[in-house]
Amino acid sequence: MKEILQALVEIVGTEFVSDQPEERYLYSMDPGTMPAREPDFVVMPDSTEQVRQVLLLANQHKIPVVPLGAGLVLSGLSRALKGGIILDMKRMNRIIEVNEMSRYALVEAGASQGMLQAYLKKHHPRLKHSAPDAPPAATIAGNVCIHGSGHISHAHGFHSDMLNGLEVVLPTGEVTRLGSCATSDYWFSRAPLPDLAGLFLGWAGTTGVITKLAIKLYPNYRFNDVGVFVCEDARLMPDILYRMSETQMAEDLTAWMTPKPDWARGFLHSNINYGANTKEELIWKRNLIRASVSEYIDRKIAGFIPMPAAMKQPFLEVPARQLSRFADVRKGGGFEYVGVIMPVDLFAEAYELGLEIASRLSVSYSLGARIIGINHCMMFFYAYAFNRADPADVQRAQRALEATNRAAVDMGGIPWKAEAPAQKEIIRKMDPNMFALMNRIRAVLDPAGIMNPGNWEID
């Protein structure tokens, strides 16, 4: 181990390697419920070349490597399940280029959502990127490679759909560019080349280390507004969401159902966020959205909540700070959620499942969904709060998460950024030939099996 430590020090410098108990302890877990797994080393590279050298070393000695962004995935994907090296990428946080005319940004893998947001606001105020609901410290690369979504995903799809290209270091040390950047100085798209970026999306860091990526940027509207539509019957939701999405006016369409505050209990809320460059355009969009659901309003079975500007503000904030506060519901600093990617058709069934599990297992919950694309699918989330100082409460949340994962898979959904146990649930239902293909690909890319082992595996 001392030789490995020394070799790592030679690659990244003394200050950026630790095998000390403090780092090993803190990097052994994330804020979710998954049990701690200690790494042997925490390493912070500053360049693609340093990443390459770390992977060559790890390959030579068959040491597991776990890439880490901000560590906010909550489902324990960046724990070192089999020890080894946690590769904390946050020193590589440079914003390399923004191409205003082709609307893309090229960043290093440790660049955070907040940094890019601030950079665009200052230097390119006409542009924005899609920011997830995660705190601003979350990295762009981390969210893209788990197929995340964000505040304009209704209009533009998953964050992985917004990816133009990648620079990756393969487990065997080769540095590879994927997308237009493979043959051009411009990072404008993944087409028309064979789309190999998929080899690094949704794999939970088991195929290589992303070091740079380019993402699409979008017009940043001068005026933004939100409407909150409310109904009491979950069976109406797919049609309501369908009608609203049919207008193609919204950038974000989300649903939320929560027992707190009391006035919200039992209601199903749909937030529809839209923007415009003039007030007239904004009103025009608002009218189109209202017209899309006027039948429900006329029948007095659903309607928009009248909201003063101050009340709208939390719903317009990007990212929304109030979402993190769910962690304090149990005065215990914890929540984790199952985010299930599924058809919008299943909304009512998914909602009933959440209520049933929360009631049966007595967990504090919040339910909701983000509509990805124009009703192309949704990420339905089941968030459970817990008190991390109370092991029984943590266990209760864990049981709820497990039950949700299992039921969601059986319902026809697929848990997103699934915990290692939930990955097994998915594999259980997966076409065996797909799983076999995944294993064949990994055997080629990672012959020594060093990349985040313990993920996408069966016992």
């Binding site: 403090e22 904390d88 601030a118 700070r321 506060r325």
Partner: protein, 390 residues
Amino acid sequence: MQYEEILHRCFRCGYCKLPENYVDFNCPPYLSFRFETYSPGGRMWLIRALLDNKLAPTGRLQEILFSCVACANCVTHCTFPKFKDQLLLAFTAAKEQLVNGGKVPPAVRDCLTRIYQHGNPYGHARKKRDAWTDGLKVEPYSDQEYLFFVGDVGSYDTRGQEIARSVAGLLQKLGVSFGILGADEISDGNEAGAMGEAELFKYLAEENIKTFESRGVEKIITLSPHGYNAFKNDYPGFGGNYSVLHYSQVLAPLVKKAAFAPDQPPLRVTYHDSCYLGRHNMEYGAPRTVLTALPGVELVEMQRCFQNALCCGGGGGNVFTDIIGSGRQTSAGVRVGEAAASGAGVLAVACPQCAVMFADAVKVQNLEGRLAVKEISEIVNERLIKQEVN
């Protein structure tokens, strides 16, 4: 440990590491060391682990806890309203636990020992406390309106002494009635308190209060925002209730009435908010009022200002212990770079500790000749008509 009930409530969402606009990391130890262990959230979880005996109070853990500069960025930006105000108190309580157990970094131990033995963190003789007055006629405090409390950095540090002379000289020119304690002054204790040495802080406060009472002090002007913080917020808890002003608050109304030399060359200045004047005490206006009153001075703001200012890295005793200085990217270095990027030729400060930290950083960052670090009274003095009084 006091406040231990909030430790596990931290979700580690990371808002505490950032300013309001998210432009870059705003927590000095995290900026320097970059391991999550040095972030406020990491510190919360490590302290919990220490109390649960999952971690021992190793030298590294001590370094992590004492690298906190008490800048309160985390308090300002934490997203949990029910316990955010207690974050810094919890960090200080953890340091206190280590101090009481004798588990502190050598630099902290030595600093606290010097304060205890000599009444200042430099270990210099008390009788040299008024060495800064060299060339000025400053009266001992007797029946003047204000006590001018100079503090440790102003009394002993070479750069601090220059600032003390400049401020005292300007106060005289503006007709402020004040005197000093000289050798009777001892450390205000703010840094001892921030380093978790609660007993030493109490002792210093009580000694100072005894001196103030014996001299009939009612009004205090402090040179340092750190002393201002201690006198204003902590001394009442020890029975010391005074009317306390930072010198910038005294200057603000008076500078407007001062006469300045005509045809002043234009000067672009950016102002750095000291943590103990700004985030801790919400005083953002007075130093800016002083600067904007000066003919020819254009005040520009840095990307991080007011409650989002990046700390110089000198708080929490770090100006004396330099624990944070061993990191590769110091906040002082980043801050002077930010000041230069604002287009200003002068980085103005209203805190001697900030001045000391930035003076070094300007050299390290090769910004000498491009960016000058000046304390605000120095800029005023440069522009006053000589011998101006009232």
